[in-house]
């Protein structure tokens, strides 16, 4: 990729070789109309309005690539005629209901109709019945739909659900005259448009997807609308509060759209969540889980006094990672001043993992991020239920598959239909729990340059290889010459004659051969699918950008230290760029800021977790705290970025800073701590108010700042331990949430209605005598639990998932620390 210069409308601009003209123009503030194109997705070519002239030839700016010295004209007479005709076509039979449409003027159809100056209509076609559909959490109105297919593209190229497609409209054919009289591209576009509307791939009228709602966000008109938002507010009434999603570690850019609740109630309410969909894609929790605020009418002074007393008595603070960096710093300062012990098991495990990783890598943080995954073309994921641990990591994986023609490997004990649905180029390996080390050894074995690896490691890897003889049946094509009699008419005599003709034919033949091949015992151990080697070799063709994502299963693994070192070795000796996915929202921030302890003391104060005295943003504790959408602060994301978030809703109670002030720290606001975030951990001394939160036109992320990846002293010891071949067997349970649920906060949100219980795949339920809705007793050596069965078609295989989003089910108590456990499941 080299810098080149192209000329658009007389303006010299710099861009990358192979960049789409539309993106190059947008990055340089040159306007080219375009409706169907989505940045980061493949061009759809539905609207054809981005027509430009490049070196005298008409091309579509969204799929024509820039070449050095190209000269582009964005507007000529024929192009203007095409654009005018296209916009007229879009307006054919479009209902004049702009007054009630939920797009309420934020409508690209309106904008372009006005921009192009359409003031009369020349085309007509008989309309068909286009009544609206209720697809569950989305409402689709084909009457308003302009079939730009942006929803289909987003679902396929970004999300990976492939839930939407175009289906036949059943309309009359266009008047034949138009083919002659209309501009060419406009006719072609209309011809296609007139044949299709959007439908569901599952053939029913109810969506069965991971419910991210990205399709409704990208809809340029009001055809796809979130059902909960329908007819509740006009876009112009909503105040957009720029924020960062607080549900998982992806730290997506969002804006809370806020307005007064009703005529009678002037209190602000969040009506919807929007995002910069060209540059960031949300999951269902981010988009629909927004009303988890803690409504507190006033400061409860008595509870506050009790809290101060409790703090004076306590010696331990236990907390979750659903807190801001500033709050984490307050806790750390309280520890330094008053000697509290800080307990956060999941962040502690992550912190230890990072530290072990640093010992070999020599850097405080992993080298890559999800943006690199988006742009790579071979991705491996290990130890993470991607779609639920970090949906954005899953989108990155899918995006690299679809747009970069990438391939991948997904290693996880729980097989995932969503990952399998991404296509053939991704191979799922369903290995047994506890075998994550073997996976990492396999990655080293497959991709590392053995000559550079430490000798002992190379030897260890070689010990898994042996030669074995197998019989291979090959299909060989042979040339066979046949003599065929044909009847031909003699041209001279006009009579039919029989002629002998020689014909050669290719005939395939099956040949059995004995071949000596390399046998890799690691493959067998990991239970890889059939023809793994062949498929992998095929998938690896033309791949040059490699990315590895490792997830939370590894941090709590009994041999997490060894795993961390292996990850560092992979980063060092292979072409893979490594991203380590933090387990919860701000685990990375907490791990960098707080000095966490292992053992708790006698008197514990819990912050968002139950203890003798509980501070809770959920409203069920002894003293109320503000929820993430009610406070300002920064969150550290998986992309090593410190993102600012603002308060969307008011909060009238006490916050952690008030307690800290009462205990002798001094700060007027929580965000006064932003500038004091530890520089020695990679943070920057920047005031909160100076942190930006937006994307530039060329996609540059102007959000907060990036953490410094600091150099760390290494010991040159690169030894790793051999792994234990012991597998976890029997009935297994996994500590993981269903799609759209992360914590108690997502559980509180009204639009996220996932049932709590034990999640079992349809396959599992069919095989056993268990049924959905029944109560079962799950027993492990740690404890037991009675829960209801929930059938989940987003998982497959025999491992049941126990969620953590409902605090009424104390799932964690069943597990030692590793996310898998053997259990017995019995009907009650």
């Amino acid at each position: 990729m080299s810098k080149i210069t192209i000329n658009i409308d007389g303006k010299e601009i710099q861009t990358q070789e192979g960049e789409y003209l539309l993106n190059a123009a947008r990055a340089n503030d040159i306007f080219i109309p375009a409706i169907c194109y989505l940045t980061r997705c493949s061009p759809t070519l539905a609207c054809r309005i981005c027509l430009v002239e490049a070196d005298g030839k008409q091309v579509y700016a969204c799929n024509a690539k820039a070449k050095d010295g190209m000269s582009i004209t964005t507007s000529t007479e024929t192009i203007e005629a095409e654009r005018r005709a296209i916009m007229e076509v879009y307006d054919v039979n479009h209902p004049l209901q702009c007054g009630v449409c939920d797009q309420s003027g934020e409508c690209e159809l309106q904008n372009y109709t006005l921009e192009i100056g359409v003031d009369s209509q020349s085309y007509a076609v008989k309309d068909v019945d286009r009544s609206s559909h209720d697809w569950g959490h989305l409402h689709y109105d084909p009457g308003l739909c302009i079939v730009c297919e942006r929803c289909v593209t987003a679902c396929k190229d970004m999300i990976g659900d492939n839930s939407l497609k175009t289906i036949p409209r059943g309309a009359d054919a266009l008047n034949a005259e138009y083919k002659e009289s209309m501009p060419k591209d406009a006719y072609a576009m209309w011809n296609k448009l007139n044949k299709s509307v959007i439908g569901l791939t599952n053939g029913t009228d109810v969506l069965d997807c991971t419910s991210c709602g990205e399709c409704s966000a990208v809809c340029p008109v009001g055809a796809l609308v979130d059902t909960h938002f329908m007819y509740t507010s006009n876009a112009w009434e909503l105040n957009q509060v720029p924020a960062t999603c607080g549900h998982c570690s992806a730290g997506c850019q969002i804006s809370y759209d806020v307005k007064h609740t009703s005529v009678a109630n002037p209190e602000d309410k969040i009506y919807r969540v929007m995002n910069e969909w060209n540059y960031v894609s949300l999951c269902g929790a981010g988009r629909y889980g927004f009303d988890y605020e803690n409504k507190v009418a006033s400061r409860d002074e008595k509870a506050f006094e009790k809290a101060i007393e409790a703090f004076k008595k306590a010696d331990t603070i236990e907390f979750t990672s659903s807190i801001t960096n500033e709050e984490a710093l307050i806790l750390q300062k309280m520890k330094e001043k008053l000697g509290f012990k800080l307990i956060n098991q999941e962040a502690k495990a992550f912190q230890t993992f990072l530290k072990d990783y640093s010992e070999i890598s020599g850097t405080s943080l992993y080298g890559s991020d999800l943006k690199v995954v988006h742009n790579s073309n071979f991705v491996i994921s290990v130890g993470s239920a991607l779609k639920t641990d970090n949906p954005n990591a899953r989108y990155a994986l899918n995006n690299s598959m679809t747009v970069n023609k990438g391939a991948g490997l997904y290693f996880h004990p729980v097989s995932d239909p969503i990952i399998d649905g991404m296509g053939k180029s991704i191979m799922s390996v369903t290995h047994a729990p506890l075998q994550e080390e073997a996976v990492l050894y396999l990655v080293l074995d497959l991709f590392a340059d053995k000559s550079k690896l430490p000798e002992s490691l190379a030897e260890y890897l070689a010990s898994f290889h042996s030669m074995k003889t197998i019989t291979v049946t090959e299909t060989v094509k042979e040339k066979v010459i046949e003599i065929v009699k044909e009847i031909k008419v003699n041209e001279e005599t006009g009579e039919e004659e029989e002629i002998e003709v020689e014909k050669s034919k290719m005939v395939s033949k099956k040949v059995s051969k004995e071949v000596e091949v390399d046998d890799n015992r690691l493959l067998e151990l990991l239970n890889v699918p059939a023809k793994f080697d062949e498929t992998l070799a095929k998938n690896l063709k033309k791949k040059d950008k490699f990315a590895l994502m490792v997830g939370p299963d590894l941090y709590t693994h009994p041999n997490s230290k060894n795993l961390a070192r292996l990850v560092a070795l992979i980063e060092k000796y292979t072409a893979f760029e490594v991203t380590i996915i933090p387990p919860l929202t701000n685990s990375l921030g907490v791990a960098l800021i707080c000095d966490l302890d292992d053992e708790r003391g006698v008197h514990t104060i819990g912050y968002n977790t139950k203890a003798a005295f509980t501070l809770s943003a959920l409203g069920d504790g002894d003293l109320d705290m503000p929820a993430m959408n009610q406070q300002e602060g920064t969150l550290t994301s998986v992309n090593k970025r410190v993102n600012p978030t603002n308060a969307a809703l008011s909060y009238h109670g006490y916050e952690l800073n008030d307690i800290a002030n009462a205990l002798g720290l001094e700060a007027e606001n929580t965000i006064d701590y932003t500038v004091h975030l530890p520089v020695e951990a990679g943070f920057k001394a920047q005031e909160f108010d100076n942190l930006p939160n937006h994307y530039e036109n060329d996609g540059t992320e102007m959000r907060g700042y990036l953490l410094e990846n600091l150099k760390v002293q290494t010991s040159d010891d690169e030894s790793v331990e051999p792994f234990n071949e012991e597998k976890m067997e029997g009935t297994l349970i996994y500590l993981a949430n269903p799609v759209r649920q992360f914590t108690e906060f997502t559980h509180k949100a009204t639009n996220l209605d996932e049932l709590s219980g034990v999640y079992m795949s349809e396959e599992y339920l069919a095989k056993s005598d268990l049924n959905e809705g029944e109560s079962v007793r799950i027993k492990t050596e740690k404890g037991e639990l009675v829960v209801t069965i929930v059938s989940d078609n987003k998982i497959a295989g025999d491992i049941a998932c126990l969620p953590t989003f409902d605090s009424k089910i104390n799932s964690e108590a069943l597990f030692s620390s590793y996310r898998f456990a053997t259990a017995s499941i019995e009907k009650v």
């Binding site: 007054g99 009630v100 309420s104 003031d119 009369s120 209509q121 020349s122 085309y123 007509a124 076609v125 008989k126 609206s132 209720d134 409402h139 008047n175 329908m230 007819y231 509740t232 507010s233 006009n234 112009w236 009434e237 007064h260 009703s262 005529v263 009678a264």
Partner: protein, 205 residues
């Protein structure tokens, strides 16, 4: 009511005439002359005679409000009215929220929701008449001619809130059935010759 006279905004020049009035005196002598003239021409009694004459013949020039009321212009902007559709008697308001947006004194607020027929429904419509300056923007912007001004200017009450009930603004159904709903002729109403200005859209039926 015919609107033509209002729509013809070209005031011709011969429509104006000069008032026959003498220039004001500037010098002291001229001023003295004017005082003398006014004093001795007994103009005072002319005025007194006119009043006396009218009193004798009982020719009243005022009206006895509130028994009698002056007719008001069609463009008069008094307390708002919500109109109904002639075709179905249904409320015209579609809940687009433009009146709420354009209101410069920020006194209109509406709540909308989706109704059981999947249509947009106005669940609450309020105008704070205490803040309303009767500028008429809401009536002008309304795409459905739903909110208009009425002729009801008698807004004296012990509570201003008495005027903002949606039910009171809405044309009563019996009045509607009787065909007695009056269209507003002020800004926002359809101007004559509108049909000629619209470009026709072809239809394929």
């Amino acid at each position: 009511m015919n609107n033509e006279q209002f729509n013809n905004r070209n005031v011709s020049e011969d429509g104006y005439f000069q008032v026959d009035i003498k220039d004001y005196p500037t010098t002291g002598w001229d001023k003295f002359k004017r005082v003398v003239q006014r004093t001795f021409r007994l103009e005072l009694f002319v005025g007194l005679w006119v009043v006396l004459r009218e009193m004798i013949v009982f020719n009243k020039h005022t009206i006895s409000y509130p028994e009698e009321k002056m007719p008001i212009g069609p463009r008069y902007r008094a307390v708002h009215e919500m109109k109904r559709l002639w075709e179905s008697d249904a409320e015209r308001c579609i809940g687009c929220g433009l009146c709420e947006k354009i209101c410069i004194s920020n006194c209109i607020r509406i709540d909308t929701k989706i109704d059981e027929n999947s249509r947009k429904e106005v669940s609450e419509y309020t105008i704070n008449l205490g803040r309303c300056i009767f500028c008429g923007y809401c009536a002008e912007v309304c795409p459905e001619l739903a909110i208009t001004h009425g002729g009801e200017y008698e807004n004296a009450s012990d509570q201003r809130e008495h005027f903002l009930l949606y039910e009171d603004m809405l044309t009563p159904i019996d009045k509607m059935k009787a065909g007695a709903q009056l269209e507003f002729e002020g800004f926002g109403a359809i101007t004559p010759h509108e049909d000629e200005r619209v470009k026709k859209t072809p239809l394929a039926y």
